[in-house]
């Protein structure tokens, strides 16, 4: 016999449910809108304090600089929402740049296809290992980070050969602009919009959230868990390779020394954008805000001039720590009530 036959839920329980509902709504809003709100505040302060900040040139500079990190963070958002992590993207970014610069001698198409093919393949390998052997994403992609860096150094004689981009069309893509905004910004913006729609409105996007939210439940509900995982790492690899290619187009060469730590900047931007490192929740809009926020902070520090640019990392780091503390608090708030 079970107790409480014919019992109505007591008023306290009902009140608690309502409170939980309200808390959940507020917390959800803060998680989603927090990063854009902070970005707006920072931009407003910058507009008031730095006379040069408002210039169109400066805006264009910020956007062009943010284009490659944005692509990487875009892929990273998908990966982190599934509960994974992709440490290989910094290496893939450099590798992609070197490959694009070298391949540009065979035409603009080759300059895009080669890095996409190689980085995409590494993404496939990452994804297959993570999805099918259930190895930890951290380890698999760390191995890929080392492997891709090794590959890059091997094809560039220990990093000392710098392939110059000899294809004019490819160079123009990196330096030309439309409506005063660099071509690469338009390209990245288009991809970001596609990514946003895919994540929010496609079945694949729903699978990404489901896999990160509860892998077991997702699998029992018939979500193709493994396929979803493979795809997010492929996506991440492709976007990192593409980011490398557009950077090579802009710089006019495949620079071998950039890109270390890019993966960490991307993770930072994604987390600052409100995506949970534990997976299951996050938005592309948040990631955009996260990337731009880091970009604006960098830009402001450059404007101050006499400040050592390493302070940018100190500020970003502090900011990241604050966001993570806030996230932890918000998540706990949600659970307790």
């Amino acid at each position: 016999m079970t107790m409480g036959l014919a019992s109505e839920p007591s008023a306290i329980v009902v009140e608690d449910v309502r409170k939980a509902e309200r808390t959940d709504r507020i917390v959800g809003t803060v998680q989603r809108q927090g990063a854009p709100a902070v970005l707006i505040v920072v931009v407003l302060i910058a507009l008031a304090t730095f006379p040069n900040f408002r210039s169109l040139d400066n805006t264009a500079t910020i956007l062009v600089a943010a284009a490659p990190p944005m692509l990487i963070a875009l892929g990273m958002t998908f990966v982190i929402i599934t509960g994974g992590i992709d440490l290989s993207v910094g290496s893939l970014y450099v590798l992609g740049g070197v490959l694009a610069a070298w391949a540009s001698q065979y035409g603009i198409l080759a300059a895009f296809l080669l890095p996409l093919a190689v980085c995409g393949t590494i993404g496939v390998v990452n994804g297959l290992l993570i999805a099918y052997t259930r190895m930890a994403p951290f380890i698999v992609t760390l191995a890929a980070l080392l492997g891709a860096r090794g590959l890059m150094r091997a094809i560039s004689s220990e990093g000392s050969d710098t392939y110059l981009v000899r294809n004019d069309a490819f160079r123009k893509l990196g330096n030309g602009s439309f409506l005063d905004i660099g071509y690469q910004v338009w390209l990245v913006a288009a991809l970001v919009v596609i990514g946003l729609v895919v994540l929010a409105r496609s079945r694949f996007g729903a699978s990404v959230y489901a896999v990160g939210g509860s892998e077991d439940a997702a699998s029992l509900m018939g979500v193709p868990v493994r396929r979803t995982k493979v795809w997010v790492y492929v996506l991440s690899g492709l976007l990192a390779g593409l980011a490398g290619a557009i950077n090579a187009a802009k710089l006019g060469s495949g620079v071998t020394v950039l890109g270390t730590g890019m993966e960490l900047d991307a993770i930072a931007a994604v987390v600052i954008g409100g995506t949970l490192l534990t997976g299951g929740a996050g938005t592309i809009a948040g990631t955009i805000a996260g990337v731009l926020l880091l970009g604006v902070i960098q830009n402001l520090i450059n404007q101050v001039g006499n400040v050592n640019s390493n302070w940018q990392q100190v500020i970003s780091g502090t900011f990241l720590a604050l966001v993570v503390v806030a996230q932890t608090y918000l998540v706990r708030l949600r659970r307790v009530t």
Binding site: S202, A206, S214, G222, V223, G280, A281
Partner: protein, 505 residues
Amino acid sequence: MALLEVNDVSKIFPGVRALDQVSFTLQPGEVHALVGENGAGKSTLIKVLTGVYQPDGGELRYQDQPARFGTPMDAQQAGISTIYQEVNLVPLMSVAQNLFLGREPRTRLGLIDRKRMDREAREILTGYGVTADVRRRLGTLALGAQQMVALARAVMIDAKVVIMDEPTSSLEPREVQTLFGVIRDLHARGIGIVYVSHRLDELYQICDAVTILRDGKLVHTGKLADLERIKLVSLMLGRDMAEVRREGATAFSGTATGDTEAAPVLRVSELNSRHKLHDVSFDVRPGEVVGLGGLLGAGRSETIKAIGGAYHLDSGDIQVDGQDLKKPTPVRAVEFGIAVQPEDRKAEGIVPGLSVRENIALAVLPRVSRFGFVSDGKVDEIVDRYIERLRIKASSPDQAVGDLSGGNQQKVLLARLLATDPKVLLLDEPTRGIDVGAKAEVQSLIDELAAEGLGVVLVSSDAEELVEGSDRVVVLRDGVVVGTLTGADVTTEDLMATIATEAHP
């Protein structure tokens, strides 16, 4: 025409014959009870039916065709849906998304049609008594409502067979009635239902047929109405019917063991916590089992957690053996000799990935280590002692706890609590979700432990268990003690009467 036939199906795991030539038949529109103790093979059978496991022998026939389901998705697409004991949905996604995941209505562009999805979700869920906003995150719904969403989802996939694995274990009585309404509706539509539950009342209320498994073997299959209740229990347990009758429904001895003269080992006075607890006070003497009675949300679990230092108190005094436990934290509570068995053993109790030995050792490490080094010999000695004493059934101390049956997991948890050498044992739903046989064992263990001089506080939503297991029952309502049952008044009738008395002043 049978809807689903299981013919001589076997499933072998290393060292265990989990299913040994089991057969049963499910007719369209039939509600078929599947019962047995933990370890009897019910879960394995369900997993074979749903494509999680492949049978090692025998044959499945579905709609008069031989069937083989390679993955859960295959089974689902064929029309076999399952709702599991723990809700298997994604708490961070919205109610509507959970309902439609993988089958979302799409616009002409191939994108998810959110408006239509939300509208349809609302329409469907209304039929299940769920009126919450479908855009809310599933995790914010009450457990019962989540279960209804899971059920709605299962039925929605054009299911011909619905397998329910203990669907009522987290439901309130009112929700159980809604569920039964839905089941009757499915029955009328010719959908076959396999219903797994430990609650006999429910089986007799809703099921037409029954299949009983024991130790992986089929012991009975047939009409439920033809089977006397006591016969069903004895078939499940493999025990003599007379023995079952004599022992009563629970395994508690029924004799009071508490020494009414002794000084209380636990004294709780005027616990207050926001709007959850109001001046809760009671004593527990050594050897006494004090039950906490009341409805869901009455403050029973909160009281236990608060004493264990895991729930915030605004004020109140806790004394163990006359010593004040000030500012309780879980660590200090353990130091004072308080052991708490939490309500949700999976989330708060055991570490499923660790072995039996490691789980028990976790609690005793401080006692058996010297300068931070652990003596293996001492750990083994303690672990072996508890495995034997609590009759834990594991292939070896190194078996992962997650692989044990629910009853044995609970015993491992108890072992861990006892290994801290407590003076007071706080048990929150110690027999929830474990089968009849293991239940009886846990109940007699509680008796034994009390007889050895432990003070025990027992929370159980099973009124019979509470009444038969407790020497005294402190009845809570809305966080207030509304009465204490002692001696001959410790009966389910008196408990109900006390709960139903006038609201507190």
